[in-house]
Symmetry: C2
Subunit: 175 residues, 2 copies
C-alpha cells in the first residue's frame, strides 16, 4: 500500500511544518504584493497521477507569477535545506483572475513512475486506486492536525478531460 506511506511522508516531511509557516508568509504577501484569492496551499491531485512539472503545460490559463520567500531548515544532515512555494495566476472563463499558492502533490510523480517500472511491483491499473488512497489518507492526517487543517485545499483533478484546454483552471477556481 504504497500510497499510505507516501501520504505520511508528504505530511511528516513537508506539510506538517510548511503549512503553518505558509500562513505567516501569505499574510505578509497580501500586504505588499498581489492580493491572493485564497490563503490556502492548493494541492493538485490528478486521478491518473500524471503530474507535470509546469502547470502551464496542462492549461495556459494557469501561469506562474512568482515564488514566496523560501523557508530554510536543517534537515537530516542537509544544512539550510530550502522549501519554497509558487504563486500562480489563474484566469477563469469570464476572465476573472485568481491568485494562489499551488503545486501538484509531488509523491504522485513517484506513484506514476513506479507504475511504469516493472521492478517496482505496481501496475497502471492499481494507480488510480492508489491516488484515491493517497487522497483519503492525506485528508484524514491533515484534518487531525490543528496547525494544518484550514491551510490547504486538496484538489482532485479528473484528467480524463478529452481535449478540454482549460479544465485545470476551471477545476481550481470552481473548487
Amino acid at each position: 500500500n504504497v500510497a499510505h506511506g507516501l501520504a505520511w511522508s508528504f505530511y511528516f516531511g513537508y506539510l506538517k511544518f510548511v503549512l503553518p509557516d505558509l500562513e505567516e508568509k501569505v499574510r505578509n504577501y497580501n500586504a505588499t504584493r498581489v492580493r491572493l484569492s485564497s490563503h490556502r496551499l492548493h494541492i493538485l491531485l490528478p486521478l491518473n497521477a500524471a503530474a507535470p512539472n509546469k502547470p502551464e503545460d496542462e492549461d495556459n490559463h494557469v501561469v506562474f507569477h512568482e515564488n514566496l520567500p523560501e523557508l530554510q531548515l536543517n534537515r537530516a544532515g542537509v544544512r539550510q535545506r530550502s522549501y519554497k512555494n509558487s504563486v500562480y495566476k489563474i484566469t477563469g472563463h469570464n476572465n476573472e483572475t485568481y491568485y494562489c499558492a499551488l503545486e501538484y502533490a509531488t509523491p504522485l510523480q513517484t506513484l506514476y513512475l513506479m507504475s511504469q517500472d516493472r521492478d517496482a511491483g505496481f501496475g497502471e491499473k492499481e494507480r488510480k486506486e492508489q491516488v484515491l488512497l493517497f487522497y483519503r489518507t492525506l485528508s484524514q492526517i491533515l484534518e487531525n492536525d490543528l496547525e494544518c487543517r484550514n491551510r490547504f485545499r486538496l484538489v482532485l483533478i479528473n484528467d480524463e478531460h478529452t481535449g478540454e484546454p482549460h479544465y485545470l483552471s476551471r477545476e481550481i477556481i470552481q473548487h
Copy 2:
C-alpha cells in the same frame, strides 16, 4: 510495506537526478576548494531510523564544512525547487581528516515519526525490519541504474552504541 514505497520515492524523487548531477559538482569542487576524500554521496542509515537534523549532535567529530552549489529544477508546479548537499569534515581517531558529502536518508525520519503516531498503523518493533527493507530495496534500485551505481555509499549505522561518542565518525571513515 512502507519502506518499499519510500525507497522508490527516494530514488525517483531525488537520487535518480541528484546523483548524476553530483558527479559534476564534486569534480569542480575538488579543483577549487577542499579535496574531497570520496566523490560519493554518503547516505547514512541508522538501524533505529533515528536520524537527527545535525550529525554534530550525534558525534562532534562530524562537522559541517559547507554546502555544494545548489541544483534548481521545476518540479510538480514548484518553480526552481532547490536541491543541495552538504560537505562534512570527519575526524578519525588517529586525527586523520576525511571530507565528503553526506546526509541521513530523509525517508527514515518518516519511518521514525510514523512508528510514534498511533494513527499510522506501524509500530516501533517493525521499525528495524523496515529500515533493513529500505536498505535492501534501495541498494537493488541504485545498482540497476548505471547513472547512479558508483556515486553513492549506503552506510548502515548500528546505533545501539552504548555511550561511544565517536561511533558515527568511525563508521563513516571505516566504511
